[in-house]
Amino acid sequence: MTTLSDPPTQQFRLSMLVYDTRYRSLTFQALAALLLALSIFYLGSNLISNLRAAGLNISFEFLGAPAGYDINQTLVEYDSQSSHARAAVVGVLNTLVVAVLACVTATIFGVLAGVLRLSNNWLVSKLMAFYVEIFRNIPVLIWIIIIFTIMTAVLPAPSAFRGAEPDASMVMGSFAFTNRGIYTPAPVWGPGSMVVVLTFVASIVAIIAYRKYTTKLLYDTGRLLPVFWPSIALFFLPTILMFFIMGKPVTLDVPELKGFNFQGGIKVGGPLIALWFALSIYTGAFIAENVRAGIQAVSKGQTEAAAALGLRSGRIMSLVILPQALRVIIPPLISQYLNITKNSSLAIAVGYADITATLGGITLNQTGRAIECVLLLMLFYLTISLCISAFMNVYNNAIKLKER
C-alpha cells in the first residue's frame, strides 16, 4: 500500500467529457444549453425576420390607445374612449368574477352530488352517478353552448313580457328570466340602511362567537348548549327587527320593462349565466368524484371506533370523518378551481367579455398586435395558476399528517 491519499491526478482526455462522471453531466448540460440557445436563436431570428418582412414590430404602446369598442359587463368604469389597457382590466375582472362564482357553485354541486352518490338510497345514488358520468364525458365547450342555447333559445325575449296579455311574466312580480339574462330586484340603500347592514354583520359575528362559546363552554364545564336553532335565530331576528325599527330603510328596486329592456334591478347577463352554470355543473361532476373518493378514503374502522366510543353519527361526521376527508378532498379541489379559471377562457364561445375576449379577442383584432396580446394573456393565466399552486403547496404542507 502506498501513502497516497488522493487518486493519481489523471491527464485530461477528451473522452473524459463523456465517460467521466465529473464532466459527463456538465457535457450534457452544455449540450442541452447549446440546443436550447440554438432553438431560441432559430425561432427568434425567424420571428424577427418575419416581423421585419411584414413591417411589424413588438411594442406595447397600443395599450394606451383608446379601445374604441364597448363592453357589456364592466365592473370598473369603462367606455369606448378608455384605453385598451383598461379594457384588459375589465376583462380580468370579468374572468375573476365568473371564476369565483363558478368555484363556489361547483363546490356546492360537487359536494351535494358526491355525498348523495354515497347515499344508501338506490335511486338517488344512481341519479348522481348518471349526472357525474354524463357531465364528465362530454366536452365542456358543448355544455357551454348547450346552456347558452337554452338561455337564448328557450327563455323569452324581453319583448315577450310586453303587452296586455304578455307571453311571459315575471316570477313573483320581481324576477325576470329573459334570454338576455336574469333581472332581479336590487336593494336601494335608504338613509339608516347602514344600521341594518351593520346589524346583519354583527349578528354574523355573533353567530361565530356563539359557536366558539358553546365549544368553550363544553370544554370548560361539560355543558353543551344547542347550536343550530340559536344560530338561525341570530341570523334572522336582529336584522329583521332593526329593519322595522329603522322604518324599512332598505327598499327594492324592482326591474321594469322600459323601452327595449328591463331597467332597474340587477342584471346578470346571459353569457355570464351560461358560462357560470356550465362551468360549475361540469366541474361539479369532477368535484363530486373527489368528494366521494375523499369520504371513502376514510376507513370504515374510523367510523366504528368513533361509534364504539359512543359518538352519535352527526358528531362522527363532524369530528372524525370530515376533518380527515377534507385533507384528501382539498388538494384536488384546488386544482379543479384552477381548471375552472382556465376553462373560463371559453367565455369567447358565448360572448362573455372576459380577458380572452377583450385583450385576446377584440383588442388583438382591432390593433393587430397578436404577439403582444397573446403574450399578455398567457402571462395573466400563468400568474393566476402559479398563485394557486403556491397556495396549494402551502396548504399541503400545513395539513400533512404527522408520520414517523
Binding site: 364525458n137 366536452p139 380572452t356 404577439i371 398567457m378
Partner: protein, 432 residues
C-alpha cells in the same frame, strides 16, 4: 383456582346448530324498495324528489325524441310534417351526417378511407390496451400511423413509405450503434432517418400525387368528428414519447435539464388550451422560416401535443416515483447503463402504472379538441356552429345537433373511461 366462581363454565356442544334461513323478513321487490328507496322518512323524500326530477326531464324530452322526424330536407319541411306537435327534427342528422362526421369538404367518394382508418385504429390500439394479446400485433401498431396517414390524406404512397423507411433505417442504425453508446445510437438513428428522408424527398417525383391510387386530400378539407378523432389520436400518441422525455428530464440530476423541463411543464399547465390554440393560429407562423407555410392543422397538432405532453409528463412522473429505489439500484449494480436501465427496467414498469392516468389525460384531451372550433376549424362543434346552423335549411335546429355531438362524445369518452377503470382494477390485482 376455580373455587372462586360458583358458576360452572364448562360446556361442550354436542349437537351442532344447522344453518337456517334468516327469519321471515319480507323479501322480493317490496323489501328491496323498503331498504333501498324508503329506508327512512328523509330517504323517502329524496326518492320522491328524484322521481319528480326524472319526470321533469323526461316528460318533455321523451315525446320530443319519440316523435322525431327523420326525413325532411329542411327545417320548415320538418315543421310542416310535425304540424305543431312537439318533436325532434332528426332529419338534419340524416341529411348532414357526412358533414358532421367528415367535415364539409372531404370528398364523398372517399369516406371509406377515414372509416377504414378508424376501424384499423382499434386493431392497432388493441395490443397496447390489452396486455394479453400476442405481442406480434405490435408490428401492426407500428405500421398503423403510416397506413392511416396514407388512407386519410391519400396522395402518393411513396410519402408514407419514405417516412416508414426513414424510421426503419433510423431504428436499425440505433440498434447498431446503441450497443456501444446510447447517445451515439440515438443521434445516429435520427441522423440516419433524416438522411433517408431528405434523399427520398428529392427522389419522389413532383407530380407523384396527381394520379395516385388514393387521391390526395388537403388537411384543410378534414373536418367533423373525424377531425376530433384525428387530433386526439395523433396528439396523444405524439405526446407520449415527449411526455416520457419530459418526465425523465424532470427527474434528472442535471439542474439545467431539470430546470428546462420544469419550466416547460409548469408553463404549459398554467395556461388554458385556448391561448395555446391562439398561439397556433396567430403566432406560431411567425416562428417558422418565412417561406415555409405550415398548415393550420399541423400547427394545431404541435400546440396540442405540447399541451398534452406536459400533462402526460406529470402522470408518468407519478409512475416513476411509485417505483422503489431498489429497482434503479439493482439495474445499476448489474452494470446496465442509464438508457438500458430506463428502457428495460424502469419505463416498462412506470408506464404500466401510469396507463390509467394517461388514459384520463387522453379523454380530457379528446374532449378539448372541440376547442379548435374557436379558432374556426370545422370540427364537429365547428361544423354545427358554422356551416350547418348557418345554412338556410337548418337554421335553428340546435337540440338535435348538439345532442348528437354530445352523444358521440359521450359514447367515446365513457367507453374509454370504463376501460381505464377496468385496467385500474386489473392492475390492482395483477401480482406480476
Amino acid at each position: 383456582m376455580s373455587e372462586q366462581h360458583a358458576h360452572d363454565v364448562a360446556f361442550v356442544r354436542t349437537e351442532f346448530v344447522p344453518e337456517s334461513p334468516p327469519p321471515g323478513v319480507a323479501s322480493g321487490p317490496v323489501k328491496w324498495m323498503r331498504e333501498n328507496l324508503f329506508a327512512s322518512p328523509a330517504n323517502s323524500v329524496l326518492t320522491l324528489l328524484s322521481i319528480y326530477a326524472i319526470y321533469l326531464i323526461l316528460s318533455p324530452t321523451l315525446p320530443w325524441i319519440l316523435n322525431g322526424v327523420w326525413t325532411a330536407s329542411s327545417l320548415s319541411e320538418c315543421r310542416e310534417i310535425l304540424n305543431g306537435t312537439s318533436g325532434a327534427c332528426f332529419a338534419v342528422l340524416t341529411e348532414r351526417w357526412p358533414q358532421l362526421l367528415y367535415g364539409f369538404k372531404y370528398p364523398a367518394d372517399e369516406y371509406w378511407r377515414p372509416t377504414l382508418a378508424f376501424v384499423l385504429l382499434f386493431i392497432a390500439a388493441a395490443p397496447v390496451l390489452f396486455f394479453d394479446l400476442p405481442r406480434k400485433l405490435l408490428i401492426f401498431t407500428g405500421l398503423y400511423p403510416f397506413l392511416a396517414f396514407w388512407l386519410i390524406w391519400g396522395g402518393t404512397i411513396l410519402t408514407p413509405l419514405l417516412a416508414l423507411a426513414g424510421c426503419v433505417v433510423g431504428g436499425l442504425v440505433y440498434q447498431r450503434l446503441v450497443a456501444s453508446n446510447f447517445a451515439a445510437g440515438f443521434f445516429g438513428g435520427i441522423v440516419a432517418a433524416l438522411v433517408v428522408w431528405t434523399l427520398g424527398g428529392v427522389l419522389i417525383p413532383e407530380g407523384a400525387s396527381d394520379n395516385a391510387l388514393l387521391p390526395a386530400v388537403p388537411s384543410r378539407d378534414l373536418g367533423g368528428f373525424m377531425l376530433n378523432m384525428m387530433l386526439g389520436v395523433t396528439c396523444v400518441s405524439l405526446s407520449l414519447p415527449i411526455g416520457i422525455a419530459l418526465a425523465l428530464g424532470r427527474q434528472s440530476s442535471m439542474p439545467l435539464i431539470k430546470w428546462i423541463c420544469v419550466v416547460f411543464i409548469e408553463f404549459i399547465r398554467g395556461v388554458p388550451l385556448i391561448t395555446l390554440l391562439f398561439v397556433a393560429s396567430v403566432m406560431l407562423s411567425y416562428f417558422f422560416p418565412p417561406e415555409s407555410t405550415v398548415d393550420l392543422f399541423l400547427r394545431v397538432v404541435i400546440m396540442i401535443t405540447m399541451f398534452s405532453s406536459a400533462y402526460i409528463a406529470e402522470v408518468i412522473r407519478g409512475g416513476l416515483a411509485a417505483l422503489p429505489r431498489g429497482q434503479y439500484e439493482a439495474a445499476d449494480s448489474l452494470g446496465l447503463d442509464y438508457a438500458q436501465a430506463m428502457r428495460l427496467i424502469i419505463l416498462p414498469q412506470a408506464l404500466k402504472i401510469s396507463i390509467p392516468g394517461i388514459v384520463n389525460v387522453a379523454v380530457g384531451l379528446f374532449k378539448d379538441t372541440t376547442l379548435v372550433s374557436v379558432i374556426s376549424m370545422f370540427d364537429l362543434v365547428g361544423m354545427i356552429r358554422g356551416p350547418i346552423l348557418a345554412s338556410t335549411e337548418w337554421n335553428g335546429v340546435y337540440w338535435e345537433l348538439l345532442g348528437f355531438a354530445a352523444a358521440l362524445f359521450f359514447v367515446v369518452c365513457y367507453g374509454i373511461s370504463q376501460y381505464s377503470q377496468w385496467l385500474e382494477r386489473r392492475l390492482a390485482t395483477d401480482h406480476r
